[in-house]
């Protein structure tokens, strides 16, 4: 099965170079052993590092690559401590076994912008321990002290004797002398870094310019059938019966069958499967969501927001303070459902053979896919093998807790003697996907005599991501979903060790979980902040206007006790020339957020025309992500995060009417395009703190910063999103 079995998803040419022997380990779970043991194609120095006699160094990567730069930073970290070129390291997908689960999530999951932070020590330690064994081997074999040895470019050298060996050549000595990994090892001091902290181009970049990068959709297996699924018009609907007579007469069509997701047509090409799908006659049960609408959700949620919710935070006495205030500001913010619209549509290949199942799937969430599939097929989890191609974007979509696009491929392949590939059309992606849930926030606030925010009362209403899932114990706190509230709370909450960075003396936040209705909510880049960021930062702007305090000055004041955010805002003020006057029709806005520890702030300048058309002319972004492992990668993630958030706030809208999603493709679910992309400036603050994430952070502040700038330019406050629904069109 040629290239597909070899897929840790890298450039196909790299596998040719790496040779077949290495691929074996990806399919054979490697049991953790402190004793270096000979594996096919090389020796495992530890769980993550394998070296073969010809000096090929393989990193078993337990984080996935979907544009996030995981492969680059992981290979950089290993390369730093092992003194090799990061581009010379061969990456292989680490098996989906508990040994390789994320220490943070305790699952095989790449999410939450934590890859850099959570692999920083493990990858470096793996490299340093492997290096220590190589040094010990050379030292004992050559009878020279370890501290006279130098490692460079995959070689150990002893200047005094002129001796030199490649790492691969030293394997024999390691085995002969039974050299064991050290218990502890000293990592390099940052002052010695040759790789980390320096701009590094994308590890797998070459295949992404010559068309050879292998995505899931690109994999071809012998005899493979292509499947296209007709899905119910309403989320939660199901097939009553269907007539496939016409579809089955079409050339190349093999079969049509009902599965839980709808009716799948199997054919010898995707085009033929798609064409035949259009000929199906299906009688649908529209299910419980027939008749639901986004407008009804807004009405219901607004009503819920008028009632007391579960109490998440109560600092000071906000209710009394508001009662006693001369004037109370009150606003309701409404944020729609959003699709992720990854450019590579969802797809998965599955093959079911007896009590084993193999999938080829771009996924952030291998352990969950494995779990869902094993439950569906009634087979042990270890009988599910997952091959990992590259992913054409994810933004949260490919961390599906229901494993929707994965398990449906397994269902389609069950009973077939060949592998089946399901590919979603863009219309299925927009209409039948998982969404950022719709949210309503009700806010009340007052200012003190100096104009600063004094009391804050926020009620958050929306569907929980985690409630009722296996994550409930970890991410629900007293019935509240910490993701629904992330970015609203001043104090740490649940497993999130950070707050907003602001200190408002009276601060009360309540939460309602909206009813679960079968429209599946899913993490969308920056998760809670996609709505809490807008509600919080826009209402803060409202209070600033009310109190007559400059909105950036107000944030500087509120963050006096949060040194890292305060520094970010000070740099922002200087870099964005905040105090420089703007012409009529132009406006400035600011927002600052803490997501997954990293503080980030953005200032934007916009120009608005009479008819509401506006351009975002300039975005200045300051971020403190601790030690900046790869500045080039950080810049890319932050630019991309801005583009994603700006498109979302400008025109992102999944609207449900009579149970049906109204949008279907990029013509009516517009996303950012090149002409709309602002001029962009990033300032990464130097820091000795441990590295933290940037992948999602930049998505959070851009939306409120732009909405605040629109107010600044026009005096009109948008409280229902997207901006295009309120007459403001990003051009």
């Amino acid at each position: 099965m040629s290239e597909a079995t070899s897929s840790s998803g890298l450039n196909r040419r790299q596998f040719v170079r790496a040779g077949g022997a290495f691929l074996f380990a990806a399919q054979c779970p490697i049991t953790f052993s402190r004793k270096a043991h000979a594996a096919v194609g090389g020796s495992m120095m530890n769980s993550f590092v394998r070296i073969d006699p010809s000096n090929v160094i393989t990193l078993l990567a337990n984080n996935s690559e979907f544009g996030n730069g995981a492969y680059t930073v992981m290979s950089m970290m290993l390369a730093e401590e092992l003194d090799v070129d990061y581009r010379s390291i061969v990456l292989e997908a680490a098996p989906t076994t508990p040994e390789y689960y994320s220490p943070l999530f305790r699952e095989y999951l790449t999410a939450g912008s934590v890859t850099t932070g959570s692999t920083f020590m493990p990858m470096r330690t793996a490299g340093a321990k492997a290096r220590a064994m190589l040094l010990e081997a050379a030292s004992r074999d050559w009878q020279v002290p370890t501290d006279e040895l130098v490692t460079h470019g995959g070689q150990v050298t002893h200047a005094g004797s002129g001796r030199s060996s490649t790492y691969g050549e030293l394997l024999e000595t390691i085995h002969r002398l039974d050299i064991q990994p050290p218990e502890t090892v000293t990592l390099k001091d940052p002052s010695e870094f040759a790789v980390l902290g320096k701009p590094a181009r994308r590890y797998e970049g070459a295949g992404k310019v010559d068309g050879t990068a292998q995505f899931g959709i690109d994999i071809k297996l012998p005899g493979m059938l292509y499947g296209a699924i007709a899905r119910p018009p309403v989320h939660g609907g199901s097939v009553v019966d269907f007539d496939a007579t016409d579809a089955l007469t079409m050339p190349g069509v093999v079969k049509a069958k009902a599965i839980r997701a709808g009716v799948v047509v199997l054919a010898d090409s995707y085009w033929r499967a798609q064409k035949a799908r259009a000929k199906l006659k299906i009688n649908w049960d529209r299910g419980a969501n027939d008749g639901v609408s986004s407008e009804q959700f807004y009405r219901d949620y607004r009503e819920m927001a008028e009632t007391p919710g579960m109490l998440a935070e109560d600092i000071g006495d906000a209710l009394s303070a508001l009662e006693q205030a001369d004037e109370v500001l009150e606003s309701v913010y409404e944020m729609p459902l959003l699709a992720h619209a990854t450019l590579e549509p969802m797809n998965c290949i599955a093959q079911v053979e007896g009590a084993t199942c193999t999938i080829w799937s771009g996924t952030q969430y291998q352990s969950n896919d494995q779990e869902v599939i094993s439950r569906f097929l009634g087979i042990p989890q270890e009988n599910v093998t997952i091959h990992r191609p590259l992913m054409g974007g994810s933004f949260g979509r490919r961390s599906s807790k229901t494993a929707d696009y994965t398990v449906e491929a397994v269902e389609a392949a069950k009973g077939e003697s060949v592998p089946v590939q399901i590919i979603w059309s863009r219309e299925e992606d927009i209409r039948s996907g998982h969404y950022r849930p719709l949210f309503v926030h009700k806010l009340r606030g007052s200012v003190d005599s100096s104009g600063m925010p004094e009391a804050w009362h926020q009620v958050v209403v929306g569907q929980s991501l985690m409630q009722g899932t296996k994550h409930d114990p970890n991410y629900m706190v007293r019935g509240m979903d910490i993701y629904s509230l992330d970015g609203c709370l001043q104090e740490p909450f649940g497993v999130f060790p950070y707050g907003t960075s602001y200190a408002i003396p009276h601060h009360r936040v309540e939460s309602h979980n909206a009813p679960k209705i079968g429209i599946v909510p899913q993490e969308w880049r920056s998760v809670g902040h996609t709505h809490t960021g807008i509600a919080y930062e826009c209402f803060l702007d409202e209070l600033a206007v009310k109190g007559g305090v400059d909105p950036l000055e107000l944030r500087l004041q509120l963050t006096k006790d949060h040194a890292r955010m305060n520094r970010v805002l000070k740099v922002l003020r200087e870099k964005c020339e905040w105090d420089k006057p703007l012409a009529l029709g132009r406006g400035r806005g600011v927002a600052s957020r803490v997501y997954s520890i990293s503080p980030i702030a953005q200032a934007v300048e916009i120009t608005v025309a009479e008819n509401g058309d506006f351009t975002v002319d300039r975005v200045v972004c300051v971020v403190d992500c601790g030690f900046a492992v790869n500045p080039l990668g950080i810049e890319g993630q932050v630019e991309g995060g801005v583009a994603y958030g700006l498109g979302g706030v400008a025109f992102g809208n999944i609207d449900i009417v009579d149970g049906e999603v109204q949008q279907s493709n990029f013509h009516d679910y517009p996303v950012m395009r090149l002409p709309q992309m602002p001029k962009f400036e990033i300032h990464i603050l130097p820091s000795d703190e441990p590295p933290t994430g940037v992948g999602e952070q930049a998505t959070a502040p851009i939306a409120p910063a732009v909405a605040n700038a629109l107010f600044n330019a026009t005096g009109r406050r948008v409280r229902r999103f997207p901006l295009s629904s309120q007459g403001f069109n990003l051009v």
């Binding site: 992404k208 310019v209 959709i217 085009w271 450019l343 994810s394 630019e639 090149l674």
Partner: protein, 156 residues
């Protein structure tokens, strides 16, 4: 039917109404050209037809029989990567990379017509190519860099 792809004449058996995209991907196994929307809205499937950028997802293969088609697989030649590809690498444009075949094909068609485009001209020519990762600032930079290299290489 016969197709000329990257200067090679190929016999194909797909149905006549099959979009060129799926002939390339599923029959010819040239999977560098990507599927993104199926209605010429995203540009992931961009290839050159007689030197001009087209969306292969809406082009029936029967309409291009006998014409010159170039795909991402034909960008590099015996001397190596094209200047546009090299500029893309140098600028580290790609993130997920899924749209980049289409971006590179759109950029190279632009540069063959307009060797020194302004930012505004780049914006217009590339507006049909969506990048969900938001690599747009680097796309602009890379197009300018490729333009410079191509001019330098021609005058050299």
């Amino acid at each position: 039917m016969k197709l000329t792809v990257n200067d090679k004449e190929l016999q194909i058996n797909s149905d006549e109404d099959t979009p060129l995209l799926w002939v390339l991907r599923d029959e010819l196994n040239m999977v560098g050209t990507k599927f993104g929307c199926g209605i010429a809205q995203c540009g992931a499937c961009t290839v050159h037809l007689e030197g001009r950028a087209i969306r292969s997802c809406v082009m029936p293969v029967s309409a291009v029989a006998g014409k010159q088609i170039q795909t991402i697989e034909g960008q590099a030649d015996e001397k190596g990567l094209s200047p546009v590809q090299r500029a893309w690498l140098e600028t580290d444009v790609a993130q997920c990379g899924y749209c980049q075949s289409g971006q590179i094909m759109a950029a190279s068609a632009l540069l063959s017509e307009n060797p020194n485009p302004t930012d505004a001209e780049i914006d217009t020519a590339m507006a049909g190519n969506i990048c969900r990762c938001g690599t747009y600032p680097r796309i602009r930079k890379a197009v300018h860099l490729a333009a410079r290299w191509m001019t330098e290489e021609q005058s050299a």
